[in-house]
Amino acid sequence: MTTLSNHVPDPRLVTAVAEHGDGPLHRVNPWTKVGTVGALVLAVTVFDRLVLLAGLYVAVLVVYGSAGLPYRRLLGWYTLPLLFVVSVAGPLAFLEPGTPVWGAVSTPLGELSVTWAGLVLFAELGCRSLTVVTFALAASMTTRYTHVAYVLGRLLPRPIDQIALLTYRFTFVVLETLEDLVTAALARGANLSEFWANRRLYARILGTTMLSAIERSERLVKSMEARGYDGDITLYGDVPRPPALELAVVVGSYVLVVGYAAVAVYEVGL
């Protein structure tokens, strides 16, 4: 499908890989993955040296690959996260005080040049973002549908858990509606590669997607109430507690990150 983007991971692909794959990461306990995401977020937030950040990123990349996941797709999926980095760090690369990397360009705003400090900052932010992005994708692509649902149901307070469970269940259904609409328009010769000339068509496609979603929710209410819904979609699926080894690794990584932060970054006296 040309119009559904290949810059955004298709949830259907992600769940299909999670459902059918059987790599080493598939066998890791979902809670371990959740814990690791937390540790990584903390790490990329407090680590202050490019080497460390780059090392972490490479490590995560290795984990991603060893889980049997496709590197090639990853490049496409990096587009948007990288764009966010560029949009924040791009200007800073010029503005950051420090030694210019090469000669300054004079602009109406004054002398502009990329500084070494700016470049390093850019690289750091890139590593920070992509480390977590890569691991989040790896986790999503190796955690079964039922486990994701269970974790969502456990982590979120009512009624957000209920909303999230329905979202998870119906994303696929809505996505198919959207795809059918796009397909049907294309089949009748619509040219979707031009936005302004086709803005009304875009609006109708999006509007119909929303409308069918809302009408579906109206039917859903009936079907849930017909079975006496009282605000509780209960989950029987169970995600066991992580095995001791995994638990130790997660706890250990938190200790490392916090320890490093305390000693090297915040210089807490011992």
């Binding site: 769940t15 459902e19 549908y145 039922t146 649902a149 269970y150 469970l165 329905l166 998870y168 269940r169 696929f172 259904v173 579906r216 039917r219 859903l220 009936k222 079907s223 849930m224 109430e225 017909a226 079975r227 006496g228 819904y229 009282d230 509780d232 979609i233 209960t234 989950l235 029987y236 699926g237």
Partner: protein, 294 residues
């Protein structure tokens, strides 16, 4: 199994569900059904037939108080349903919706089948056990751990049915149970419906008049929001005026039966009927011809 010969079950018995609906108006002003009286007796299978927009779904949704008549009343098992005891109607009358994708809300099949039980306050272990039993009843135990998203249309329908059976209703309502299914899956769902009718009454709507003729004890014909006629399949499907009024075409067996001149006498409505009759007839004729020759 041909159930169509079975006559409508005695009116002397108290109906399980009795709906007197003065009219139902949708929020946008469309009148879904007019003055309709409909009841379901124990142990019967009722089929609603009628054109698109005739009001079948609207009527069905009244039976478990999903919709409430503008005026009129719903009596379930002798108790009048008001705003306070809707849950009684919901428990006694199970509803399987036409679009199985809207029916399945939980992340796994077993969660979904237990969904209604859980809402009913049944403790988790017990709910699980009963959900398993319900899945078994529709021969779908193997689906227990599956994700609804990955089920086929027929499987979804069976799981929807199990979710309703788990609640031990006395009536099961199915809106277009065969829609979108291939012949084999239709057969499977039809078989399951025949199987559960031993335990509960069934009310269903369908566009497949042949299916209605095969499965129903009683057929109600709807047109323009009214029930315009009802009776055994035999009565209904040979009543031209009635079918025409509802813009229906008689089922294939009836058309064939009629074309070969069986309509005045035996009036076959199921395939089995027709085949038996045709066999008999050719035999009789053959016999006659044989006898005559000798």
């Amino acid at each position: 199994m041909s159930d169509s010969q079975k006559s409508t079950v005695g009116d002397s018995q108290r109906p399980l569900v009795d709906l007197q609906c003065g009219r139902h108006t949708y929020p946008d002003g469309t009148v879904g059904i007019h003055d309709v009286a409909f009841s379901v007796s124990p142990d019967e299978v009722v089929a609603l037939v009628g054109g698109n927009g005739a009001g079948k779904s609207t009527l069905l949704e009244h039976l478990n108080a999903t919709l409430v008549p503008d005026e009129g009343e719903l009596v379930v098992d002798g108790t009048e349903i008001t705003g306070d005891n809707e849950s009684l109607a919901r428990r006694e009358v199970g509803f399987v919706f036409q679009d199985p994708d809207t029916q399945l809300v939980a992340p796994t099949v077993i969660d979904d089948v237990a969904f209604g039980l859980q809402n009913d306050g049944v403790p988790p272990e017990e709910a699980r056990r009963r959900a398993r039993a319900a899945l078994e009843r529709v021969d779908a135990s193997h689906l227990e751990g599956r994700v609804p998203h990955y089920l086929s249309g027929g499987e979804k329908r069976l799981v929807g049915l199990a979710g309703v059976l788990a609640l031990d209703p006395s009536v099961v309502v199915l809106d277009e149970p065969l829609a979108g299914l291939d012949p084999e899956r239709s057969q499977l769902v039809a078989d399951r419906i025949r199987q559960i009718r031993e335990l509960v009454s069934v009310v269903l709507s369908t566009h497949d008049l042949g299916f209605a003729a095969e499965i129903a004890d009683r057929v109600c014909v709807m047109a323009d929001g009214d029930i315009v006629g009802s009776g055994t399949p035999r009565e209904v499907f040979y009543d031209d005026t009635l079918l025409e009024r509802a813009n229906l075409v008689p089922p294939r067996v009836v058309r064939i039966g009629r074309a070969v001149g069986l309509d005045s006498t035996a009036r076959p409505v199921t395939e089995a009927d027709l085949v038996t009759l045709l066999d008999d007839e050719t035999e009789t004729l053959a016999d006659e011809s044989r006898e005559a020759t000798h």
